[in-house]
């Protein structure tokens, strides 16, 4: 124990203590509350320990809050997916455009970055005006003399529920044949790893189509998302996903003949064994009545996604632009000499090199969109059902003095964010040590 270490330890001790109390202590407190029956604001409230009942309720019960929570999870999933894809593609395209040695690049860079300087509350308020069905964006075509648009944006209460029955069967067949052809092509080229990784989603789509046709009931045409996910089978789905992830990880480790394969392979084999010997049947079945409304993509989310992408695609652009500037000109020249055209330079050379940036951007954007609250609060208020998300529900639980249920939702939200953030932090820390 030398002075230097002691000094270093003393220097970080205050922040360790403060973080321990004000972050982790409070998270622990919230987790504890979520296991109690706390509601109401009595001086000495009853906080009886009731185990995981609140969580069970959230995923199975039919109170006034619980179906809303399940809808919120689905909304978050769709919002996050489209928001990520939108920001990354738009950000990359803007970065590529700025990379073309244009005049006054600085001005454009600033303009694209400006939205990020606003808070979501401001963005939300302004876009709320723009999305007013009677004016704003819908009135744009009238500038050139055309009829105004009639899309209802945020006022749209319809949901897009998709099942394969709505797709004409020839098109379904073409899609599936196309997938198969691509798979076969990879196999024939001996890209076995690629083939396996492509094969998994392909099998999932095939399973979905099959399940849809197997469960089709013409009488309930519009009521169920056929064959797709239902809450009652949620634990099954989660188990399957875990097994698949372990398998893929093991395959990749074997492929690269790294040592990870050994200590990843054993649990993987056990998991596969468990899964195929009736393991999922031992999982508790969530008792969901058939009365659950269908889950789909709520059209009102489109407006939210546009506003969110507008706000953060500039940030993604800045990250990509920094990355593109870091790619040496020699590489590009070499590629051009080898016969690449301009598009291929970006897709084949630069984009693969920017993978770490894509990952970082996806992590940052992903955790923003999972806990989105202010944008939705500003655009449609806390009570609009088609765009409800867990972040807003924590607020409304606090409003109704349902502290235990609100804490449970907050903990679920924390876990969702942790699933994204923790692996990222782990790799980052490991990276620092290796340097």
């Amino acid at each position: 124990m030398d002075w230097d270490r002691l000094y270093a330890f003393g220097a970080i001790l205050p922040s360790v203590i403060l973080l321990g109390i004000f972050v982790y202590g409070f998270i622990g407190e919230t987790v504890y509350w979520s296991l109690t029956s706390w509601r109401g604001v009595e001086l000495n409230p009853t906080k009886a320990y009731i185990g995981i009942q609140n969580y069970k309720d959230l995923f199975t019960a039919f109170g006034s809050i619980e179906p809303k929570f399940r809808l919120g999870i689905v909304n978050t999933f769709f919002f996050t997916a489209f928001f990520l894809v939108g920001c990354l593609t738009l950000g990359f395209l803007l970065a590529v455009l700025l990379d073309q040695n244009i005049k006054s690049e600085g001005i454009f860079r600033t303009i694209f970055l400006f939205p990020m300087a606003l808070s979501f509350a401001v963005t939300g308020t302004i876009w709320r005006w723009l999305f007013n069905p009677g004016g704003g964006i819908n009135a744009l075509p009238t500038v050139v003399g055309a009829d105004p648009l009639t899309f209802k944006w945020l006022n749209n209460r319809s949901a897009f529920t998709f099942n394969w029955h709505e797709v004409p069967w020839p098109i379904t067949a073409i899609i599936m044949l196309g997938l198969l052809a691509y798979f076969a092509m990879q196999v024939s080229r001996r890209n076995y790893l690629k083939a396996i990784f492509f094969g998994v989603p392909m099998v999932l789509i095939f399973a979905w189509v099959a399940a849809d046709f197997a469960t089709w009931d013409p009488a309930r045409k519009d009521e169920l998302m056929h064959g797709l996910f239902q809450w009652s089978t949620m634990l099954d789905v989660i188990a399957a996903v875990i097994v698949i992830l372990f398998c893929l990880g093991t395959i990749q480790a074997l492929w690269h003949s790294s040592r990870t394969a050994i200590w990843l392979g054993v649990p993987t084999m056990l998991l596969v064994l468990w899964y195929f010997t009736g393991g999922p049947d031992s999982l508790p079945k969530l008792d969901i009545p058939e009365a659950e409304s269908p889950y789909g993509f709520n059209m009102a989310l489109i407006a939210l996604i546009i506003a969110a992408v507008w706000q953060l695609s500039g940030y993604t652009m800045a990250m990509y632009l920094a990355g593109i500037r870091g790619v040496s000109d020699e590489l590009r020249e070499a590629a051009r000499v080898d016969g690449c055209n301009e598009v291929q330079v970006y897709t084949k050379i630069i984009l693969p090199l920017l993978r770490p940036i894509t990952l970082s951007a996806a992590i940052v954007l992903g955790h923003i969109s999972l806990k989105i609250f202010d944008l939705i609060f500003a655009m449609v208020g806390p009570d609009f059902l088609p765009t409800t998300v867990p972040g807003v529900q924590v607020y409304s639980m606090f409003r109704s003095n349902e502290f235990a249920k609100g804490s449970a939702i907050a903990v679920v939200l924390l876990m969702m964010v942790a699933i994204i953030i923790i692996p990222y932090l782990a790799t980052q820390l490991r990276g620092e040590h290796e340097v």
Partner: protein, 422 residues
């Protein structure tokens, strides 16, 4: 120059120190912290009250802790945090009725004010219907400062004449003139975001269930599954078909919904009488010529009220000063200073009507004569737990337009908020 100023200031300060105690024959001193959400348009009314308090009790330093945000959205959250953290203000603004009783009174955090009501003779000057709403068997819990009316239908007289319709007396009348208006591309009824829908719904429900049925819903004597409650949802759906609910309602504030009536896009709008203040002060319209009003269809003779009131939390640091504050609020002077500026009417039956606007005078006349019931949306009828979840019920109905499903969901909310027996 500066030296002169300093000398002057010191001299003044000395004079004040010597003279002030002789000026005020008042034994109150120290601090008074009032917590409210009156800012912006309502700020001046509160300032006037505080100024009056300062002249009465010059030794008390009033600390005006205002948290902005319409109908107290943010203030309620801050208040909750402070109360749970054991840092109660001396007196705080709260909607009179269940919003206070269902949250803070059942939690044993408020003082009973019966002694004050008896000492000041308020039992006789407030209408019985109001006293019923702010009391429980254990006591009276807050001093109502102002009264707003929720069930008012607004219109522009000149426009109605032009379109050849009259203000409807019942919802059936409204549904009858609805096609006439729609044929002329006029929205018969303008509505806004979720809470304005609930605001409209309470007017519809009172017209269908009557005052007794409405009150029975909140005592748990009446089930939400009863046929007449389900029928209320049916009627509400028909009314929404005559509105802009499916077009742009979800993103309109109440002001924007009122604007639609003023600028001739819509014929009617049901909103509380703060809309009168908005149209007179902000839009500069004259009552009776620029805009007209009538009790919302089927509720003539009923006054759906909401009231801002102040209570006395247990453990208020400056209890005596807070009681003096409540005395001022309940007095004729206090109410007549505050309400003309706020655009509301006094809760007392003996206020000086000459100070009020034409609209407020008509509302005050109804306040004296009508049956009084509490508003759901504005905290008088139901506790916060119910109010927090009812918007979801409304959303379910707006999405699916299924009356039975809405009734079932309301019953669930009613049981969860412990109004009904489960």
């Amino acid at each position: 120059m500066t030296r002169r100023l300093v000398t002057l200031a010191i001299a003044l300060a000395l004079i004040l120190v010597v003279v002030a105690p002789t000026l005020a024959q008042d034994d109150l001193s120290g601090q008074l912290e009032i917590f409210s959400w009156w800012a912006g348009d309502e700020g001046p009314a509160l300032e006037a009250l505080i100024a009056e308090y300062n002249t009465l009790h010059p030794n008390v330093e009033v600390n005006n802790a205002t948290v902005t945000g319409g109908s107290g959205v943010n203030a309620k959250a801050v208040l909750k945090t402070r109360m749970l953290g054991g840092d109660a203000p001396d007196s705080f603004q709260v909607h009179a009725g269940q919003e206070l009783i269902g949250t803070w009174v059942v939690a044993d955090r408020m003082e009973d004010l019966t002694f004050l009501f008896e000492q000041e003779g308020w039992m006789d000057v407030f209408p019985q219907g109001l006293l019923d709403l702010i009391s429980t068997d254990e006591g009276i819990w807050s001093v109502p400062v102002n009264i707003h009316r929720s069930n008012v239908m607004w219109y522009v007289p000149a426009n109605l004449e032009q379109w050849g319709v009259e203000a409807p007396a019942t919802w059936d009348d409204f549904l009858a003139i609805c096609p006439t208006l729609q044929d002329q591309d006029i929205t018969p009824l303008s509505v806004g975001e979720n809470w304005t829908m609930i605001h409209l719904w309470e007017s519809v429900a009172v017209s269908q269930l009557g005052t007794d049925g409405w009150n029975a819903l909140w005592t748990g004597e009446k089930s939400w599954l009863d046929d007449d409650v389900v029928a209320t949802w049916d009627l509400f759906g028909q009314i929404l078909d005559c509105s802009n609910a499916d077009e742009d309602a979800a993103t309109l504030s109440w002001q924007q919904a009122t604007d639609k009536v003023v600028n001739g896009e819509a014929a009617f709008n049901v909103m509380g009488d703060w809309a009168a203040g908005y149209m007179m002060t902000t839009l500069g319209l004259e009552p009776e010529t620029g805009f007209g009003w009538v009790a919302s269809p089927g509720t003539a003779g009923t006054f759906i009220m909401l009231s801002d009131s102040f209570g006395l939390p247990i453990g208020a640091p400056d209890r005596d000063n807070a009681i003096a504050w409540l005395q001022l609020l309940g007095s004729n002077e206090g109410q007549d200073i505050f309400n003309p500026l706020k655009g509301s009417i006094a809760a007392r039956l003996d206020s000086d009507l000459s100070l009020y606007s034409v609209y407020s005078q008509s509302a005050a006349a109804d306040w004296q004569a009508d049956t009084i019931v509490g508003s759901l949306q504005h905290g008088a009828a139901a506790n916060e737990s119910f109010m927090g979840e009812f918007p979801t019920v409304m959303e379910l109905f707006l999405g699916a337009r299924n009356s039975q499903a809405a009734a079932n969901a309301s019953q669930v909310v009613c049981i969860q908020s412990r109004i009904c027996e489960g």
